[in-house]
C-alpha cells in the first residue's frame, strides 16, 4: 500500500505510528481555536433559537396540521443516518477483517457517537414542552398511564437510546489501549487525566485476552442493533397509512441512504484531518478511494430505490401513488426533489471516473453535496408524505421558519464542534489497530 505522498505503509513502524498520531495531540494552532470559537458561536445561535422556542411555544416552528413533523424530525433522521455508517465501517468491516478500514475506523466510530448525540437532541427540541420528556420513560404519570410499547415511537426511543449507549461503549473500549499509549507519553495534568480514563490499562495478557473478545462481541451485537435502529426509524413512517409513507421497501431504502450519507461524512471528516494533521502516510489515498468507491456504489443503489418507487407508482393502478409521483415531479417541492436526485444519484456517478476520484478537493465538494442531498431526501420523504393524505382536508405545505433554521444550523455546528475537540484531544486514528495491520504485514521494529 503506497500513498502518493511517497510514504509506504511498509516503511511505517510501531514507533512512527505513535509519533504521527501523538503529534496530532500537540498544542493547537490559532486557526484551530478560531474554528472552535466559530462553531461555538453557531451552537449559541442554535441554543438561543431553542430557548426562544421554549418561551414562545412550539408555534414559532413551521410545523402544522397535517405536517406535524418538520425540520426537527428531518434533522433527527439525517443524523441517525450519519451514525449508521460509522457502525458499518467499524463493526461490519472489522468482522469481515477488511484491513483498509483501520485508518478511518476511529473517525467513523467517533462520528457515530457524536451523530447520535446530535440526533438525540431533536426529539426533545420537537417536544416543545421539553420538561415533560419524562413521559417517555417507563414511569406512570398521575393517571397511572404508562408508555405504550406497541408504538413505533417507543421502538425508536428504545433503539436510539440503546444505540447511543452501545456505540459509546464500543468507541471507548476500542480506545482504551490508545488512551494508555497517550498516558505513557504524557506529563502533568494530561498524564493524570489519561491515567484515570485509561483505567490502568497496561496491555497485559489478561487485559488483551478479554478486551479483544469484548470488542469483537460488541461489534457483532452492534450490527443487528444498527439495523433495528434504522428499521425502527423507518417504521415511524411505514406503519402509518399515509400514501407517501407506506412503501414496503422503506427499511432497506433508509439504510442505503444512511450508508451513503455516513460514508460521505467520513470523507468530509477524514480529508481535512489527513491534511491538517499530516497523516497522509497513515491514511493512504487507497483507503479514501475505497470509501469513494463505496459512495459510488451506494449512490447506484439509491438510484435503484428511487427508480423502483417511480416504476411502482407509475405502472401500478394505485391512483394515490400516481398522484404522489406527479406531485413530487411537478408539485410544490419539485426543487427539493431534484436537488435530492441530483446530489444522491447523479453526483456519486462522477466517482466512477478516476480523474474525479483522485482529486480530493472535488471529492470533498461532492461529499458535501451528497450530504446536502441526503438531508433533502429526508425532507422530501417526511414533508411530502405528511402533506398529502388521502383526502384534501389532510393536504398542506410546510416551510421551515428562522427558528428551525437556527436550530438546524446549531445542530451541524455542535457535531463539528465535538469532532474538532475530539480530534485534538484524543487519538483520532487507532494506533493499536494500525500496529496490528502493520504487524500482519511484516517487521515493525526499528
Amino acid at each position: 500500500m503506497v500513498s502518493p505522498e511517497g510514504t509506504s505503509m511498509g516503511e511505517l513502524t510501531f514507533a512512527k505510528v505513535d509519533d504521527i498520531v501523538l503529534d496530532t495531540l500537540g498544542p493547537p494552532e490559532r486557526g484551530y481555536w478560531l474554528a472552535v470559537a466559530l462553531l461555538f458561536c453557531g451552537i449559541l445561535i442554535g441554543a438561543a433559537c431553542w430557548v426562544y422556542q421554549v418561551f414562545a411555544g412550539i408555534g414559532v416552528a413551521g410545523m402544522n396540521i397535517p405536517v406535524a413533523w418538520g425540520t426537527y424530525r428531518v434533522n433527527f433522521l439525517f443524523w441517525i443516518g450519519i451514525a449508521f455508517s460509522g457502525t458499518l465501517i467499524s463493526a461490519i468491516l472489522r468482522l469481515v477483517r477488511s484491513d483498509w478500514r483501520t485508518p478511518v475506523a476511529r473517525a467513523a466510530e467517533t462520528m457515530t457517537v457524536f451523530a447520535v448525540c446530535t440526533a438525540g437532541l431533536f426529539p426533545f427540541i420537537q417536544l416543545g414542552r421539553v420538561w415533560l420528556a419524562f413521559y417517555l420513560l417507563p414511569f406512570p404519570n398521575e393517571r397511572t398511564l404508562w408508555p405504550n410499547f406497541r408504538s413505533p415511537l417507543m421502538f425508536d426511543l428504545l433503539a436510539v437510546g440503546t444505540y447511543l449507549m452501545v456505540s459509546s461503549l464500543f468507541w471507548y473500549t476500542g480506545m482504551l489501549p490508545d488512551l494508555a499509549t497517550v498516558r505513557d507519553r504524557a506529563a502533568g495534568v494530561r498524564k493524570k487525566i489519561f491515567s484515570l480514563i485509561s483505567l490502568g490499562w497496561t496491555g497485559s495478557h489478561t487485559h488483551w485476552r478479554h478486551a479483544t473478545r469484548v470488542y469483537l462481541l460488541v461489534a457483532a451485537l452492534a450490527i443487528p442493533l444498527v439495523i433495528s435502529v434504522h428499521g425502527g426509524v423507518s417504521r415511524d413512517f411505514a406503519l402509518a397509512i399515509v400514501p407517501g409513507w407506506h412503501p414496503m421497501l422503506f427499511d432497506p431504502c433508509f439504510m442505503a441512504g444512511a450508508i451513503l450519507s455516513g460514508l460521505a461524512m467520513v470523507l468530509i471528516l477524514t480529508i481535512p484531518l489527513r491534511r491538517l494533521f499530516h497523516c497522509e502516510s497513515l491514511i493512504p489515498r487507497q483507503v479514501l478511494e475505497n470509501v469513494i468507491r463505496a459512495v459510488a456504489v451506494i449512490g447506484l443503489i439509491m438510484g435503484f430505490f428511487y427508480a423502483r418507487e417511480f416504476f411502482i407508482s407509475g405502472y401500478g393502478r394505485n391512483p394515490m401513488a400516481a398522484k404522489m409521483l406527479r406531485w413530487r415531479l411537478f408539485g410544490d417541492y419539485r426543487d427539493e426533489f431534484f436537488i435530492m436526485m441530483f446530489c444522491n444519484v447523479m453526483l456519486p456517478l462522477l466517482f466512477f471516473s478516476k480523474r474525479v476520484r483522485t482529486r480530493l478537493p472535488w471529492v470533498m465538494v461532492i461529499a458535501i453535496c451528497v450530504d446536502i442531498g441526503m438531508w433533502f431526501d429526508r425532507f422530501v420523504v417526511l414533508v411530502m408524505g405528511a402533506g398529502r393524505g388521502f383526502l384534501p382536508h389532510a393536504w398542506g405545505l410546510f416551510s421551515p421558519t428562522r427558528v428551525e433554521m437556527g436550530i438546524t444550523f446549531g445542530g451541524f455546528c455542535l457535531f463539528f464542534f465535538l469532532y474538532l475537540l475530539f480530534a485534538k484531544h484524543l487519538p483520532s486514528i487507532s494506533m493499536t489497530e494500525m500496529k496490528e495491520t502493520l504487524h500482519q504485514g511484516g517487521p515493525h521494529a526499528e
Binding site: 513502524t13 510501531f14 514507533a15 505513535d18 417507563p138 406512570p140 397511572t144 404508562w146 408508555p147 405504550n148 410499547f149 406497541r150 408504538s151 417507543m154 421502538f155 428504545l158 433503539a159 440503546t162 452501545v166 461503549l169 464500543f170 473500549t173 489501549p177 494508555a180 499509549t181 498516558r183 505513557d184 507519553r185 491515567s195 483505567l199 490502568g200 490499562w201 497496561t202 496491555g203 497485559s204 495478557h205 489478561t206 487485559h207 488483551w208 485476552r209 478479554h210 478486551a211 479483544t212 473478545r213 469484548v214 462481541l217 460488541v218 451485537l221 443487528p224 442493533l225 433495528s228 425502527g232 493499536t432 500496529k435 496490528e436 504487524h439 517487521p443 515493525h444 521494529a445 526499528e446
Partner: protein, 175 residues
C-alpha cells in the same frame, strides 16, 4: 520469597518474546508475573497457554436477562391500563418482541463490559507500578520475578534471548 525483585525483558519482536516465555516456562526457575504487549498477540497467548476468555458467557447472560426484562416491562405496562382499544389484545407478541430485542442487545453489551471489568480486573491502577511505558508503544515486555541475588543471571538470560532489560521497573515486592 524474601527480597524478591521483578525484571522486565523488553523485546522488539513478538516471536522472540514468545520464545523467551517458552524457555522460561521450560526452565521453571523464575515465574512469569505478566506479559505486556502493544497489540494482542496470538503467539504470546499460545506460549503462555492462555485459555479462551469467558466474557462471552457474561454477554449471553446479559442478553437473556435483557430480553426477558424488556418483554416483561412491555407486558407489565400494558396490563396496568386494561382498556381494550379497537379490539386489539392487551398482550401482543410482535411489538413486545422488539422491546425485548432492544433490551437484549443493551443488557448483552452491559454484561460484556461488566465481564471485561470483572475478568480483566479493570480498573487496575495498581498494575501501573510494574508497567514499562515502552510496552504500550513498540516493545513486548515479559515481567519475571526472581530472588534479588539472581537478578543478574535473569538479566543475562533476557539479553541472550535478544531483549533489553528495563532499568525500570525493578521493584522489591517487600518495599
Amino acid at each position: 520469597m524474601p527480597n524478591e525483585t521483578l525484571v522486565t525483558g523488553l523485546f522488539s519482536d513478538e516471536r522472540r518474546a514468545a520464545s523467551a516465555i517458552r524457555a522460561l516456562r521450560a526452565k521453571n526457575r523464575w515465574p512469569i508475573r505478566n506479559v505486556h504487549t502493544p497489540i494482542p498477540s496470538h503467539k504470546i497467548a499460545e506460549a503462555m497457554s492462555v485459555k479462551k476468555g469467558r466474557v462471552g458467557w457474561c454477554t449471553l447472560a446479559g442478553g437473556i436477562l435483557g430480553f426477558f426484562f424488556g418483554f416483561a416491562l412491555a407486558v407489565f405496562t400494558a396490563s396496568r391500563w386494561r382498556l381494550v382499544v379497537g379490539g386489539k389484545p392487551l398482550i401482543v407478541l410482535a411489538p413486545f418482541f422488539i422491546t425485548g430485542f432492544e433490551f437484549a442487545i443493551l443488557f448483552a453489551v452491559f454484561g460484556n463490559i461488566l465481564g471485561l471489568v470483572g475478568l480483566g480486573r479493570l480498573p487496575d491502577y495498581g498494575g501501573l507500578i510494574h508497567h514499562d511505558p515502552h510496552c504500550t508503544g513498540d516493545r513486548f515486555g515479559v515481567v519475571v520475578s526472581c530472588p534479588g541475588n539472581q537478578r543478574e543471571s535473569l538479566a543475562a538470560f533476557f539479553r541472550d534471548q535478544g531483549a533489553e532489560v528495563a532499568a525500570r521497573p525493578l521493584f522489591n515486592l517487600e518495599s
